[in-house]
């Protein structure tokens, strides 16, 4: 009996020791925050983190966003280390909410896709307008969507797909990712513009949607350029149109939808944010550090290798872009419902 009690106690004490760890951590943060407030008279140039910074990446290790974040953390100089924390799941909501609920003291920043935040807020999978409340730092990459078919497909170009879909409504299988995300938005805009009537199949991730197209279980693939490029260069995918304003530097021979006469643009900005209410001078310091890293040759090289189109938007431009997109995306949403 004695043994039983002792071991039970041991177990319980271990558990408490563990949970206590979490609490003391929080307490420590509060204290440090107090110290920082004392030193808040610093200017933008001189603000530097007092300890290592957590950069939350709401995707798993090894994905496009993770690699981008790691390229930047390796090339940024903030005096302290910037440590990537992969917190994935829930369609980025778990990681983003963690960032959203963090202390606005500059020691937590996050990578986020503003378009995804807007769409997720409008379709109620995010309860809060994260894109409005989080403080934008900058956007470093614009990854537009592209429409592809399998090399074994009978289709030849965008027009043949549109014509087929009009003649056979509901028969074309349109593979993409996410039922209510940014891809769906682009698809619906395309439908309004062209009169396409297909089945939008929302796969879990890009590789699943690609497999469906390779295996003949879907006809058309709509996905990010960066994710499709390797398969385009291997000849397995044939690019039909990019959903950009102008042609992609990676695919100079592929027309834009705009050139084909359909005004549809769709893509994702990979951007960095601070938690809500982060003081201005901290955000400015980050913007500067990111911009310095953006201009480095080795950053540009590494980003290009990932098939991502580097495009700089500072915090002012990014904020404007988010506000514009929030309005236009809401309009599309309303016209669909």
């Amino acid at each position: 009996m004695k043994k039983k009690i002792i071991s039970l106690l041991l177990c319980v004490s271990m558990i408490f020791a563990f949970t206590a760890c979490g609490n003391t951590e929080d307490a420590g943060k509060d204290m440090e925050k107090g110290k920082e407030n004392e030193a808040a008279g610093e200017t933008a140039e001189s603000w530097r983190p007092a300890k290592n910074v957590d950069l939350i990446v709401p995707y798993g290790a090894g994905g496009g966003s993770d690699i981008l974040a790691r390229i930047y953390t390796a090339n940024m100089d903030m005096g302290k280390n910037i440590v990537v924390q992969n917190i994935e799941g829930g369609g980025t909501s778990v990681g983003l909410y963690q960032a959203y609920n963090s202390e606005p003291d500059g020691h937590t920043i996050t990578l986020a896709l503003p378009e995804t935040c807007i769409v997720n807020y409008l379709n109620a999978s995010f309860q809060d307008p994260l894109h409005e409340e989080m403080v934008p730092i900058c956007s470093v990459v614009y990854d537009a969507s592209i429409i592809c078919i399998s090399s074994k497909s009978d289709f030849t170009d965008m027009e043949s797909i549109i014509a087929y879909s009009k003649d056979h409504p509901g028969e074309l299988q349109w593979a993409s990712v996410g039922a209510t995300g940014n891809n769906r938005l682009g698809y619906e805009q395309l439908c309004l513009e062209t009169g396409i009537d297909a089945n939008f199949i929302p796969f879990d991730n890009a590789s699943e949607s690609r497999t469906a197209v390779f295996g003949g279980n879907a006809d058309v693939l709509q996905g990010a350029i960066s994710e499709s490029l390797p398969y385009i260069s291997s000849g397995d995918l044939i690019p039909l149109a990019v959903m950009r304003e102008d042609r992609s530097t990676f695919l100079p021979d592929t027309p834009t939808l705009k050139e084909l006469g359909y005004e549809v643009m769709n893509g994702l900005h990979r951007a960095f944010f601070c938690p809500p209410k982060t003081p201005d001078h901290i955000v400015a310091a980050y913007e500067e550090a990111f911009h310095e890293a953006f201009l480095l040759d080795q950053t540009a090289e590494a980003v290009k290798e990932q098939g991502a189109e580097a495009e700089w938007l500072g915090r002012k431009e990014l904020k404007e872009l988010i506000e514009e997109n929030a309005v236009s995306i809401k309009e599309t949403f309303d016209s669909l419902n």
Partner: protein
């Protein structure tokens, strides 16, 4: 075969070999400790490999992968707690064998089965990877749905005592899997306002709660009773001839099932070993001895879960589609070195493909020897009093649950799930079917929804899918097999 030669050159460099062996050793230890898994090991090591050369980083990650999946066997046999979810099925027969004083036999057999499974899937990987990859392409949403349903029929094998309770367990498992954002419409389900639950209950925390915590609680219950004397038995490192002789069929079928399941994306080791175990049990002359310490159960489980690793590498290399959780992370490891797994990899970087092949084979062999060497030490765990061991296990599980997402929330998930499963075991609900529902639920749900979206609400296209129909019929046959069997036996008796 040219690339195999390049692979040998890459892997057989002193530094690379050291990384590989370190990886295997670390993986085995990670795998052997309940709460720390292969996936966790690879995730934690991944950022460190960014600065290595491509060959070194592949070798090390592959070592952790193989070691981690294999190491789980140790805890399964010795503690009745799966070291990793992959070796869950090994507990069914491994733990009873250990109780009967045959722990050493169970371990050496399991390690040997792991080696065979690894080698056979490696052979498939080297020789017919591109052809095998087509299997993955043949599977559309209907096929995955049908395979999930077929997998569920394993419940019959897992709950022979009380079928109703088995089915209830499956349903509970599927309900737990439904927590979080709906996979299609992204609407939160059963989250009760906790945004932390948007991604569902963390898999590691849930599985460790189910098996480790409930087992710890059950053992605490009996800790004051005079402990059964746990014989270590004579430790023989190599599996004995009489254990292995005549078991070729068991080794082969486990390996083949493992490889095929591995090729299918998103299915994973736990399902592979469950299917293999079910197959071994149903084709056995003595199915009732399964679950009571039948060595065939260990062979089925361990050969399948290791073969699954080789299988999972096939779609990863040829199509860029991860076959399981760990290969999904491995893809990231390759991408960071500027390599895009997929159809181009074989032509543009044949040496990398070769490195993956060779490092996988070398890891399997290294795993075999490292496990044999460690066995003498590890088996002493049996002599450690439970009142020291249990708190350590509990802490390790907590660390595992915490590390996978770096948050305390998942520790609470572990505790709650553990408490729930303890109550369920007390009410004599079998836990294995619960895992079945938990693991297969999302596959079934997502793919059924996708298939129905593609056909605009009709289930008729299922009839035009031979593979899917075949899988469903197989599931039905597995479900009805015990009934059919008893009818046949009655007939036989009547004829006598």
């Amino acid at each position: 075969m040219d690339y195999l030669f390049h692979g040998v050159i890459q892997v057989f460099q002193p530094v690379t070999l050291v990384y590989l062996i370190m990886g295997v050793l670390g993986g085995v230890i990670f795998g052997a400790i309940p709460g720390l898994t292969a996936a966790l090991g690879v995730t934690l090591m991944l950022p460190f490999t960014y600065s290595m050369t491509t060959g070194q980083s592949i070798s090390m990650l592959m070592g952790i992968y193989v070691g981690g999946i294999s190491g789980g066997l140790v805890a399964s046999v010795l503690l009745n707690i799966p070291g990793t979810p992959a070796s869950l099925v090994t507990t069914f027969d491994g733990a009873p064998m250990a109780r009967q004083g045959r722990a050493a036999q169970a371990l050496s057999l399991g390690v040997f089965a792991s080696l065979i499974g690894g080698i056979i899937s490696a052979a498939a990987l080297c020789m017919i990877a591109p052809q095998l990859a087509k299997v993955a392409l043949m599977f559309g949403s209907w096929e995955y749905f049908a395979m999930g349903i077929m997998g569920l029929s394993v419940v019959v094998a897992l709950s022979s005592k009380n079928m109703i309770k088995g089915f209830i367990s499956v349903i509970i498992g599927m309900l737990i899997a439904m927590i979080g954002l709906d996979p299609i419409s992204a609407i939160p389900r059963f989250t009760f306002g906790f945004w932390q639950l948007n991604a569902g209950c963390d898999q590691l925390a849930t599985l460790m709660g189910l098996f480790a915590l409930s087992e710890v609680l059950s053992q605490i219950n009996g800790i004051h009773q005079s402990r059964e004397i746990r014989e270590v038995g004579k430790v023989k490192l190599l599996p004995q001839k009489q254990d292995v002789a005549g078991k070729l069929r068991q080794f082969l079928s486990g390996s083949v099932i493992g490889t095929v399941v591995g090729i299918l994306p998103g299915v994973g080791q736990a399902t592979a070993s469950l299917l293999s175990y079910n197959q071994a049990r149903q084709t056995s002359k003595d199915p009732d001895s399964f679950g009571k310490g039948n060595p065939d159960g260990i062979i089925a489980s361990e050969s399948a879960n290791n073969a699954c690793c080789g299988g999972a590498l096939i779609p990863m290399l040829t199509l860029g589609i991860p076959g399981d959780q760990v290969t999904a992370i491995l893809i990231g490891g390759l991408v960071i070195h500027g390599l895009q797994p997929g159809p181009l990899l074989f032509t543009t970087s044949g040496d990398i493909v070769g490195t993956v092949f060779v490092s996988y084979i070398v890891s399997c062999v290294a795993m075999y020897f490292i496990m044999l060497l460690l066995m003498k030490v590890l088996i002493k765990v049996l002599k450690v009093p439970m009142n020291y061991l249990l708190p350590i296990i509990l802490v390790m599980c907590m660390i595992g649950a915490f590390t996978s997402n770096n948050r305390i929330f998942d520790c609470w998930v572990l505790l709650l799930v553990g408490l729930m499963s303890y109550i369920l075991t007390k009410c004599e609900f079998p836990l294995a079917p619960l895992v079945l529902g938990y693991v297969l639920g999302p596959t079934i749900e997502t793919n059924l929804s996708l298939a129905i979206i593609a056909s605009r609400g009709s289930i008729l296209p299922l009839a035009s899918r031979p593979i899917a129909l075949g899988l469903l019929l197989m599931g039905l046959a597995m479900l009805l097999w015990p009934t059919i069997k008893s009818v046949i036996q009655k007939q036989k008796r009547r004829n006598l």
